[in-house]
Amino acid sequence: MSDPGSVSGGAGLEASAAAGVDQASHVDDSSQKQRKPRSLWSDAWGELRRKPTFIISLVIIAVIVLMAIWPTLFTSVDPRAADLDKSLQAPSGDAWFGYDLQGYDVYARAMHGARASLLVGIFATVLTVLIGSIIGIIAGYAKTWLDSVLSRFADIFAGIPFVLGAIVILTTLNAPTENPGVARIITQVVLSIAVLSWPVAMRIMRSATLVAKQQDYVKAARGLGASPLRIVFRHLLPNTVAPVLVYATIALGAFIGAEATLAFLGIGLRPPVVSWGVMISESRDYFQSAPHMLLFPAGFVTITVLAFVMLGDAVRDALDPKSR
């Protein structure tokens, strides 16, 4: 329930990534079907190369990343140049996406906003996956009591509804009157997303580890006297990383959506940061008279999320031999 995938909540991500969990158990028979034994990854890569959705989503992601790194490539207009004469003007030849209340060029802001939105998504995903995987692999590998303590601990965080949890954390850390700096607010948003989402990654990692632990090669390694660290890094991790990777791809998209939702509620990133979420939150009171203020940044969020979800779907299908 702590999943921003949905913001209306959502074991959704967990459910969609759960299909990836049981792949780990089928890893070994995928190579038997081939005439020439190939690894799971090269097999998946061969599958992916021929998939149109994979190519499309990669192209979209490449464009967005380029936009984040080098926004001036797409627009020469300063995103912070306000011209009140043009306030709320509809899209035209001069400004493709129109102007917002302050007379900012919406197109220029959308290009420059990619960076903050993408940064939040990437950092939150990396942090969520790191915390979740470490705790998940410990819980899956450890003896029963540590496992149940860690699982209950994850349940505690999973029990907090995502939006409510994020609101409480972000408003407790910043009084509404304060104006925290850019780095601080981005860190806070990233941290609150990660703190509320890690149980999902932890559960995926834990169940993948539980499956992998039963494999003969792990028992053999243990029988040969391999240390727990060696077993975890050499034998378990390579076989449990697939479902988590699929989750991470989908989650990255979901977290960009979560950033927008938090900004919409007025507690996420805020000006002077330029992000899609900030643009959306600025538009909420003028939506009836100037829908372009909302629709363009929301469109960018939607397309980005779409690309990551599509990529995650394609990778999951490619890694899952059952779907072939």
């Binding site: 329930m1 949905s6 909540g9 907090i160 409510l164 999320v305």
Partner: protein, 309 residues
């Protein structure tokens, strides 16, 4: 069965305590001065501070405060806000509205999601299958507030004037259908995908082949044999989703101006009414935990192979 329920209930206790304590600590322990800005522009009267601190047990250590608060909750006392308004009363007026909306959302997502999932699962890679795959993908990518704003604008009087999108202060079921749809739209996509993959997987199983070989009509094979077995992951999702729908209602309520729990808690946080925030979050956590217990018990009904000892 009885012993299983008891064990599960016992497992719920630490999780409940942990979650509510976490929220309680966040709300009460981190802000330095709970009375900041509470009495207009001037500092609060010492007598008022003394009385409220006494009432909220602010002078006790955090753990003692928390357990005193929990003790009051057990006897149904949610406490009062800084202005002396009863939190219990406030919750009892807005709770039914949000619950109604949550249940409408749950019904909509279950009915549409399962139907779409079954239809596409039975006919894999047809036109309908691709249509549902693309539309669920789209729904998943669309932030909920965007769906809400767009539907409200274009269905309402300013758009194509198809329906009245405003919601009164004491809304009827009819008025809540659109907000409910918006609230459930994301989960609807997940339900459809989950049902589809589950049906696709079970369609090749032995018991389905046997049922067809026995000469059972198609409706019975799908309705009884296939659906009952395929719905287990879907039920899990739907059960835990009610809790998140209620928690996520805050966004939908904001878009449609509904007087529900979401608005209450948002104002509570903005005005630093800690009692309000902890009360509502506790209630939501309770709903979430009880629903996940209910889901576990429903497994046995759906799949008799699962036995609880």
């Amino acid at each position: 069965m009885g012993r299983y329920v008891l064990r599960r209930l016992l497992q719920l206790i630490p999780v409940f305590l942990g979650t509510t304590f976490l929220i309680y600590a966040l709300v009460w322990a981190i802000p330095q001065d709970p009375f900041a800005g509470k009495c207009g522009q001037r500092p609060c009267d010492p007598a008022y501070i003394a009385e409220m601190s006494q009432k909220l047990n602010l002078n006790d250590p955090l753990l003692v405060q928390y357990f005193k608060y929990l003790g009051n909750l057990v006897v149904g006392d949610f406490g009062t806000t800084f202005n002396g308004i009863s939190v219990g009363e406030q919750i009892s007026t807005s709770w039914p509205i949000t619950l109604k909306m949550g249940i409408i959302a749950l019904i909509i997502e279950a009915v549409i999601g399962i139907i779409a999932g079954v239809l596409t699962g039975l006919r894999k890679s047809g036109f309908l299958d691709n249509l549902v795959l693309v539309s669920t993908l789209f729904l998943i990518s669309l932030p909920v507030f965007v769906t809400g704003f767009v539907l409200r604008l274009y269905l309402g009087p300013q758009g194509f004037d198809l329906m009245d999108t405003s919601v009164s202060s004491d809304p009827t079921f009819g008025e809540l259908i659109l907000p409910g749809f918006v609230l459930g739209s994301l989960s609807m996509a997940y339900v459809a995908r989950l049902t589809r993959s589950s049906i696709v997987e079970n369609r090749r199983s032995d018991y389905v082949r046997t049922a067809i070989a026995k000469g059972q009509p198609q409706t019975r094979v799908v309705g009884i044999h296939l659906l009952r077995n395929s719905l287990i992951p879907v039920i899990t999702f739907l059960g835990t989703d009610l809790g998140s729908l209620l928690g996520g209602a805050i966004v939908t309520e904001g878009v449609f101006n509904i007087n529900g729990i979401g608005g209450l808690i948002f104002r509570g946080i903005q005005e630093k009414e800690g009692v309000m925030v902890t009360g509502i979050v506790t209630l939501l956590v309770l709903v979430y935990l009880l629903m996940s217990l209910l889901v576990d018990l429903l497994y046995a009904v759906l799949d008799p192979r699962i036995r609880y000892e």
